[in-house]
Symmetry: C2
Subunit: 496 residues, 2 copies
């Protein structure tokens, strides 16, 4: 008995175990002693009174520990004669590779995984598509959150499709700004356009289906579509624009008709009509990703879905949008507008995948939209971003990057520079001077600029996608100088 008490007393208690309630720590020590064979089956445990005195803890602590050990099957309790170590199959005990308490993994609490890098971080310089968070109307937003919390209905799940108020507000916004007539029942709230893309792919695609993806385009599309086993083919926005009638037949076309990503080109009316007619004829689906319509320079062209609604009773266009760019990235809300007959199967799939989203952010966003604050914020940001774009273009023209042509069609949150030919020519080590290698280097220096070639599997054209939307007034000039200097230095190293 003495040995047992000493054993329990002396078992190491490292790491977070120190923060446990006493009875829980005691339970852990007994569990280890029993599982490791240090306490044998049938061995009698000290009475709670005795052990309490020996360990200098209250008798209730011991009683609670014994009660839990008994409930978990580690000890048997015989009425009137005390507690005994339970009989457990010998061969299952004494594993050699036991992990001790407080093992090292407990200490790297802030270990971050590689995948964390994909999340937006406004401390990175010139990050594309990052909202100007310092301009976000935080007080207004807090009021919207408070209004959302005013009712206890907040506690009850929203419908699987998302909060009703938000879906109505989105339908109204789409009519006003995008020429889309959607019934709120067609709108499903998602965790950004990523989830919309995922759910649509899972719903519509099976192995060996053909999928066409506009190039350049969001590179994540390929990964998601490939998981379904479908066959992916890229099609350039030029081909879609110039010979839309030659577009190969496919089960699904992934398009950004209003603003190509990242170049910003808009698909013309004839091409749109042709693509819609083809979809109707081939019974294929079009996924319209309308990720970047709010901040572009020039008039906002209506969505392809709006045109389709004017032309066809039966809709083949599925429309997705996101609030990550227009409100703030941590909101993680987007939506999809579905043809009526896809609503039910889409929700069945959604029920499998995530079962719906948290109501509070949805309801707060609904109030943000209904109060008119969302439109006000969009208008303010549109002007701000246009100023910043001009500022950046000026800074580029004054820098050594002036020979890199701006090749995008006036995007509101980033611009795209093509890498000039001569850079490639001079480079002794061409591999080291493609845009991927350059961007890896720039990322190490704190710049979140992205390589253009990443987005275009057809041309692999080298270039840089430079964000300007999140940089405070007056800071763009110095950031562009810093960037130009880094690129010159890198260029010097790799052309010697």
């Amino acid at each position: 008995m003495r040995a047992l008490i000493d054993l329990i007393r002396l078992l190491p208690s490292q790491g977070q175990v120190n923060h446990l309630p006493r009875y829980r720590a005691l339970v852990l020590r007994f569990q280890q002693a029993i599982l490791s064979g240090q306490l044998s089956a049938g061995e009698q445990l000290p009475s709670s009174r005795e052990l309490a005195e020996e360990l200098g803890v209250s008798r209730n602590t011991i009683k609670n520990a014994y009660e839990l050990l008994h409930a978990e099957g580690y000890i048997d309790t015989r009425k009137g004669s005390g507690s005994y170590v339970a009989h457990l199959p010998e061969h299952l005990l004494q594993k050699k590779e036991r992990s001790p308490l407080g093992k090292s993994s407990l200490n790297n609490a802030h270990h971050s995984t590689g995948s964390d890098n994909v999340t937006a971080d406004s401390s990175l310089k010139l990050q594309p598509a990052m909202a100007a968070l310092d301009q976000f109307p935080m007080q207004v937003w807090k009021r919207c959150v408070n209004v959302a919390q005013a009712s206890r209905s907040l506690l009850q799940s929203s419908p699987l499709a998302g909060d009703e108020l938000l879906r109505e507000a989105i339908a109204k916004h789409l009519l006003m700004r995008r020429g889309i007539q959607a019934d709120p029942s067609q709108v499903v709230i998602t965790s950004g356009s990523q989830e919309a893309l995922y759910l649509v792919s899972r719903l519509l695609l099976k192995a060996d289906d053909e999928v066409l993806v506009e190039a350049p385009g969001y590179q994540g599309t390929y990964d998601v579509v490939a998981q379904t086993g479908a066959r992916i083919q890229s099609i350039s926005w030029q081909a879609l624009q110039q010979q839309p009638e030659n577009t190969p037949n496919a089960k699904l076309l992934c398009l950004t008709p209003s603003r190509n990503f990242p170049l910003g080109h808009t698909l013309g009316l004839s091409s749109r009509l042709t693509l819609l007619a083809l979809a109707e004829q081939n019974q294929s689906w079009i996924l319209e990703d309308d990720f970047d319509c709010e901040f572009a320079t020039g008039p906002v062209v209506s969505a392809l879905l709006g045109l389709s609604q004017n032309q066809y009773a039966y809709q083949r266009v599925i429309y997705t949008g996101t609030f990550s760019r227009t409100v703030f990235p941590a909101l993680r809300l987007g939506y999809v507008v579905l043809p009526t007959e896809l609503i039910e199967p889409f929700l069945t799939q959604r029920n499998r995948v995530d079962g719906g989203l948290s109501r509070l952010p949805q309801l707060a966003l609904a109030h943000f939209m209904i109060s008119g604050e969302y439109s006000r914020h969009l208008k303010k940001m549109r002007l701000l971003y246009q100023q910043r774009r001009v500022e950046m273009e000026k800074a580029l023209a004054r820098s050594s990057l002036k020979d890199w042509p701006v090749i995008d069609a006036g995007g509101g949150m980033y611009l795209v520079l093509a890498m000039p030919e001569f850079v490639d020519d001079k480079a002794l080590d061409n591999k080291a001077f493609d845009d991927l290698a350059l961007c890896r280097y720039l990322t190490q220096q704190g710049f979140a600029v992205r390589p253009l070639s990443l987005y275009d599997p057809l041309t692999r054209q080298s270039g840089l996608v430079l964000g300007f939307s999140a940089e405070p007034e007056g800071k763009l000039a110095s950031l562009v100088s810093e960037l130009a200097a880094l690129i010159s230095a890198y260029q010097t190293i790799h052309t010697q």
Copy 2:
């Protein structure tokens, strides 16, 4: 020109179009007229001044409309000579099945889909696993939301794995209450345990893999696992308890070792050790769904993952939990605790599926936990639910349902009645009297009781799962009377 102006003036404007800004409504009318062929290619449009006068709107309205129509390719503008309808391919126009503006679908704004029924609704009577929302400390929660909103970092995305503060709080809670030593880096926040199950299935399973699912169990598991093409086999909790060594080999075992769903039985220590040894030997994975450990009567048995950590260095147990039951359903947050080597691939998969979740609810929950309010709430609810269970058992014993045996092991949010044999015997129409048909009838009467047979594909035992946790004090007696009366009436009809 006169005809054109009349055409534009007279085009119907129904439904929500009335709420559009004037220039947007005008654009829609022109688009329709051009697409339908009512305006022909090359036809000259009235000048903005002329049309403004005719329609009695400002000249800017017309200018804005023409600008957008031009940007979208509907009209051409020739310097100094006005605007003309653009040339569009004839064969793409004049579709017969045009959907007119303001079509009926715009009016059923509150159309709810069938899938919406799966969401929790506290207005339903005796709903299983529904939290007592009237007891939720709303003021405390609002303070947590306000604390969460105090910092602008709220606007920036949380890591893909979820908010760091919340992951630390969960790791601490798991150590205190579930005997689990998890590093926060192993914890990934999900949209409920549903998403955890989905992501784990997609990560680990491929076509023709074998999966074992404990029966009875959550019926949604089958659906999610089946989507991966894996082969599913049910195994009874009795078999797992009595002959764990005979458990068939499988890639994944889906277990509820602490509390079977819905019966509440706990897997004993020997069985747990055997199942862990088998998983180690066969290199299979165990998914431990710990959905219902907080409110059970009696001591809270440690998680299987905790035992595994005591026994093995290499973890084969993946642990999931949810806050929908313990906080409120609309929160839609849960988590998964992953073996270290699954973290990276799990996050890669998560990045495809939803790209992460909204930060505000995560951060608010973190503050709710860190402040100790979560534990306080759990303790309060545990006592409350236990009182309600006693109250319900008394009410059942006084009712005509007294002959339906209570067969669960003391669940904290619902109890399970077996349908007595004689009910089946007496029924002339047995089909009409199985628990599925009975529950359909009871649902129509506003009761959200669930049929036991739904959860057990092996025995299909008939019974009722009755929630009591969300019913206010003193109301349970009358609800049980009402339920008993409905069942008697139904029984009378179907045994005549």
